[in-house]
């Protein structure tokens, strides 16, 4: 066991939290013991090549007496969506049958790759808020609007489990608009034939934020993710999707924009495990100012995952002299009857497009603004546009 001030204080903090989520006490103990055994990652980890992991193993995470949190910012409202606010004790009763909201219980980490995501152990040890959302078989649960706010402490450590039983459907909107250090895990299971459409909106923060979305997708089930991530001091998004069974599929559509001195780091892993599984990823990134934008997209085709079909496109606009883009689209393929391709580009606005717009009377700045919006939001559904997501970007590039 290593002794380290952070680990010592995290251990104490972890004990203080026992009464918050009583069903996971044993798992907390095991997690903090594991962290103590492994120690805090020192040198450079390949999975954390461009973003340091150390700020996530530091105060205010694990503070014994955490200072109180900052006030929440406004959320977007979506018509017809039922808001669920994490940290809010008085949850509205969900009227619709077949949707249940429950306290988290053990085991928490059965579905997670803890070797790849050591921060999930820390999440378990220091978990303050948690919720399990379960959708019963065959139920169309409509739209849930998951909001994170109202936390008592300066750092948010939360976990949501989402389970869609066979043949069910859910549209899940996830809004993050707080400026707090965050360690957050979404642990999702999409049962056979079920459909989860997940929309995430992550507004800028000045604190280190780590998010993991871990998804298991069953036979003939689909997990779709539309994500908008606006730059932050240090924001790391891990997205790990396992297409466990035959005909499972996923569509990932991410837009990320970084400016000033932001570090914005997205890492996706798509594992094709079942046969006839399909994945599509489209990731658009903008790096302006002195920011560093990182993307790592791994497609992993397991042995026997025949007829897998995987495609990844990553496009980046590098707009300023001090900005930097790192991208690594990876393929790891152990089956031969597959269709896999990836492409990544780094460049600027297409001069032909800028010229075309200018010949119609738009000045260069207006032309670039129009192309920026199109690049980030061109594929956005109307309901998302109407809710005002673009205006949040406008703030970013103002």
């Amino acid at each position: 066991m290593q002794s380290h001030p952070f680990i010592d204080s995290a251990l104490t903090r972890s004990r203080q939290l026992d009464n918050r989520l009583p069903l996971i006490v044993a798992e907390r103990r095991r997690s903090i013991a594991e962290i103590a055994r492994e120690g805090i990652p020192s040198g450079k980890l390949e999975t954390w090549k461009y973003t340091p992991i150390q700020p996530f193993f530091a105060a205010p995470f694990g503070d014994v007496e955490p200072p109180t949190g900052s006030s929440a910012r406004t959320h977007l409202s979506f018509e017809g969506a039922v808001p669920i606010t994490l940290g809010d004790k008085a949850q509205p009763a969900i009227e619709r049958a077949g949707i249940s909201l429950e306290t988290l219980d053990s085991p928490l980490n059965a579905d997670l790759d803890l070797t790849r995501y050591p921060l999930a152990l820390l999440n378990t040890a220091l978990l303050e808020d948690g919720l399990a959302i379960r959708i019963a078989p065959g139920v169309d649960a409509g739209v849930l609007d998951l909001r994170f706010s109202g936390g008592a402490s300066a750092a948010e450590v939360s976990r949501i489990r989402v389970e869609l039983a066979a043949g069910s459907r859910l549209r899940l909107i996830e809004q993050r608009s707080e400026d707090r250090p965050t360690n957050s895990v979404l642990d999702i299971r999409v049962g056979p034939g079920a459909l989860l459409q997940h929309t995430r909106i992550l507004t800028p923060t000045t604190a280190p934020c780590w998010y993991l979305v871990s998804v298991h997708v069953g036979a003939h089930a689909t997990y779709d993710l539309t994500g908008h991530s606006m730059g932050s001091t240090t924001r790391r998004n891990d997205i790990h999707i396992r297409l466990d069974d035959h005909h499972a599929s996923t569509n990932i559509d991410l837009a990320c924009a970084a400016h000033r001195r932001d570090r914005l780091d997205h890492q996706t892993v798509i594992e094709h495990i079942g046969v006839d599984t399909v994945s599509r990823q489209l990731v658009h990134g903008i790096a302006a100012g002195s920011s560093e934008l990182t993307f790592n997209g791994r497609i992993h085709i397991h042995p026997n995952a025949q007829r897998s079909d995987a495609r990844l496109t990553n496009k980046n606009l590098l707009l300023d002299k001090k900005a930097r883009v790192n991208t690594k689209p990876e393929l790891e393929i152990y089956a031969n009857d597959v269709k896999c391709s990836h492409g990544a580009t780094v460049g600027q606005f297409d001069p032909a497009q800028v010229f075309y717009l200018r010949t119609r009377g738009l000045d260069e700045a207006a032309a670039r603004a129009m192309l920026t919006r199109a690049f980030l939001a061109g594929r956005m559904p109307p309901w998302l546009l109407e809710a005002g997501v673009l205006e949040m970007y406008a703030e970013l590039f103002a």
Binding site: L357, R358, R360, G361, L362, M370, A374, G378
Partner: protein, 263 residues
């Protein structure tokens, strides 16, 4: 049809465009080598010529394409020198280029693009932007006249359009923006006969005493539908022969050899 954009009064027969001794280089290579050309208000001129003669360069340099370097000579539009102006400044005073290869801009809807263009041009003339209702009304009616489905306005600019749709989209913009000088760069290429007739009808509707048209084309065919007042033959960076429509017919029958050899 005109979306109620008032036209500045321009006396017919005044000079709209005056190109004098124009030399242009692209990537260090001289393309235009002392080109002279006049276009009067109300005139429709066709620019013909073999491949590589510099027709498209002429069209693009008038519109102000970056990297097309004017090394000598002048381009004057209603008495104003164009060569120092940014492309958008040229657009705002009434210069329009219908692209040979209209550019695709995924993510920007055709509608949004048209509205932004029109608003920018109206603003430059100190005019209020069209209301959304007026704009929609006029764009729908123009689209219908070009056999364009209204759905087409919601799609990304030229994104996944067929060749014919792209060219009709250029004419849609021409009719919406109502410039004074329209340069049509090979607008007929890649069109079947039906689409060609639709496009020509659009151009003829635009044609008027207050504007001028420069039609760059490789084929005489277009001129059967849009009758030019003047035909110029461009070869090796210069106008080598000018005449009326009969010149175009002769070129079609006999090719360019008899002109370029003589020149």
């Amino acid at each position: 049809m005109s979306p109620s954009v008032p036209q500045d009064a321009v006396a017919p027969s005044a000079t709209l465009l005056e190109v004098a001794d124009l030399h242009v280089e692209v990537a260090g290579k001289p393309i235009l080598k002392g080109l002279n050309l006049n276009l009067a208000v109300g005139e429709v001129a066709a620019i013909m010529g073999p491949n590589g003669s510099g027709k498209s360069t002429l069209a693009n340099v008038i519109a102000g394409r970056p990297d097309y370097v004017v090394t000598q000579g002048s381009v004057r539009y209603l008495g104003t020198s164009l060569t120092e102006l940014e492309p958008e400044a040229r657009a705002r005073i009434g210069v329009f280029l219908a692209f040979q290869y209209p550019v695709e801009i995924p993510g920007v809807s055709n509608m949004e693009f048209l509205k932004a263009s029109l608003d920018a041009q109206r603003k430059a003339r100190n005019e209020e932007p069209l209301s959304a209702v007026e704009f929609m009304k006029s764009v729908r009616s123009v689209a219908a006249s070009l056999d364009l489905n209204p759905e087409f306005l919601k799609r990304g600019v030229n994104e996944g359009f067929s060749g014919g749709e792209k060219k009709r989209n250029e004419i849609l913009q021409l009719l919406m923006l109502q410039p004074k000088l329209a340069i049509l760069d090979e607008t007929d290429s890649g069109l079947d006969i039906d689409a060609l007739q639709t496009v020509a009808a659009g151009v003829n509707r635009f044609r008027g005493a207050g504007n001028g048209i420069l039609m760059v084309t490789h084929y005489q065919r277009l001129l059967d539908y849009i009758k030019p007042d003047t035909v110029h033959v461009l070869a090796d960076g210069r106008i080598v022969k000018s005449g009326d429509h009969s010149l175009a017919l002769k070129v079609e029958a006999q090719g360019y050899g008899w002109i370029t050899d003589a020149a």
